[in-house]
Symmetry: C2
Subunit: 203 residues, 2 copies
C-alpha cells in the first residue's frame, strides 16, 4: 500500500482524482500558512477543470468574507458566469464553518469533499450538518477523510508554531517586567527569536 502511494507520488500523479484535487487544495492552504493565517485551502472543480481556488486570508484582508470557501465560490461564479454552481465539487482541507456551509447550499454546488473534520465548529456533520438538511431547496453531498493526515498535519504545524511564538512572547514580557534590562535576556526571549517562530517559518 505504502509502496503504491510512493510510486504515485514519484510519478507526480494520483490514481484517485479526489487526492489530486485535495492536493491542489493543500497547495492553497500553504499560501495561507505563508501569510501567517490559519492554513485552510480549497478548490472548486467543474468536469475535470479547476474553476476556483481560495485560501484563508481573513486577517490579511480584514474581512470575514476572506474565508477560503467564499473566495473560491466567488471566483468560480465569475468564471462560469452564474451564481449557481450546479455540477461542481468543492475540495476543502477543513470542514466548513456555519457561513461557508451555508454558502455551499446557497451556491447549489453538488458535492463537497473534506480533508479533516472540525469537531469544535464544523457544520458539515460535526456541530450541525447544514449541507444535507431536507428543509432546504438544495442539499450538498458530503464526503470526508480524503488526505486526512496531510490536511490535519498542516493545521497542527500552524498551531504548534503559534503556541511556541506566544510562549516566547510571554517569556519576553516577563523578562522585561522583571527589569531584566541590566542582564542579557535569554536567547529564546528576544524579539528576533519570537519573530523567527512566526507561522510560515521553520521551527
Amino acid at each position: 500500500m505504502k509502496e503504491e502511494t510512493d510510486k504515485r507520488k514519484a510519478a507526480g500523479t494520483a490514481a484517485d482524482p479526489r487526492e489530486k484535487y485535495m492536493r491542489a487544495a493543500l497547495k492553497q492552504a500553504e499560501k495561507a500558512l505563508a501569510l501567517g493565517e490559519v492554513p485552510i485551502g480549497c478548490v472548486i472543480v467543474s468536469g475535470d477543470r479547476i474553476v476556483g481556488r481560495g485560501y484563508n486570508r481573513r486577517n490579511t484582508s480584514k474581512t470575514t468574507l476572506a474565508h477560503a470557501e467564499l473566495i473560491a465560490i466567488d471566483k468560480a461564479s465569475r468564471k462560469l458566469g452564474d451564481w449557481r454552481l450546479e455540477g461542481c465539487t468543492m475540495y476543502v482541507t477543513l470542514e466548513p464553518c456555519q457561513m461557508c456551509s451555508g454558502s455551499l447550499v446557497q451556491s447549489r454546488i453538488d458535492r463537497v469533499v473534506i480533508g479533516t473534520m472540525n469537531p469544535k465548529a464544523g457544520c458539515a456533520g460535526s456541530i450541525l450538518n447544514i449541507l444535507e438538511m431536507p428543509e432546504w431547496n438544495h442539499q450538498v453531498e458530503v464526503e470526508t477523510g480524503v488526505l486526512q493526515a496531510e490536511c490535519q498535519e498542516i493545521l497542527q504545524q500552524f498551531f504548534r508554531q503559534l503556541r511556541q511564538r506566544l510562549k516566547k512572547e510571554k517569556a519576553l514580557r516577563r523578562a522585561e517586567a522583571a527589569g531584566a534590562a541590566d542582564t542579557p535576556a535569554p536567547a529564546a526571549a528576544t524579539p528576533a527569536a519570537a519573530e523567527g517562530a512566526a507561522p510560515g517559518t521553520k521551527e
Copy 2:
C-alpha cells in the same frame, strides 16, 4: 398611537432609532427592487453611524456573495479596518439565510434586528437559530418585528409582480404555440406588456 406614528412620519424623524435604521435598510431593499432582484436590504450601525450598507444583487453580480448582508459586512469591515464587528448592530429587512446567519456569527457582530421572518429558509429562529447557538464562541442577539409590515410589503409587491409577469409570458407562449400569428394577440400577452410588469415598475 396611529396619530403619533403619523406625526413622526410627518416630522421625518423616528423616536425609535431601530425604526430609523430599518428605514435605511428598506431604502437599500428598494435599490434591489429597481434591479429586479428580490428586495432585501440591510445596514450595519456602529455607535450612531451607519458603517455598511448592502442590498441583494445576486443575479446582477452573478455571485452568491452578493447577498445584502455579506456586502454590508464586507463594507463595514473595510471601513472599520477589522473583520471583527464587535459593538455593531445589523438591521436587515428579511431574516437571514444559513450563509448570512453564519457570517454574522463569524464577524462577531453584537446584534441583529430583523424586519420580517422567512419561515421557509430563515436561520435566525425559523428553521434554525444559528445566531444564538451555545456551541459557538460567539452568539448574536436577535430582535425581530421592527417595521414588519413595510418589510413584508416590499417582498409581497415583488412576488406579486413576478407572478403577473410569468403569467403573461405563459399566455404569450401559448398564443404563439396556437399559431395565433394570423390573429392579433391579446394586449396583455404582448412582449411589451410583459416587460412593463417586470419587478421595479408599477403594476
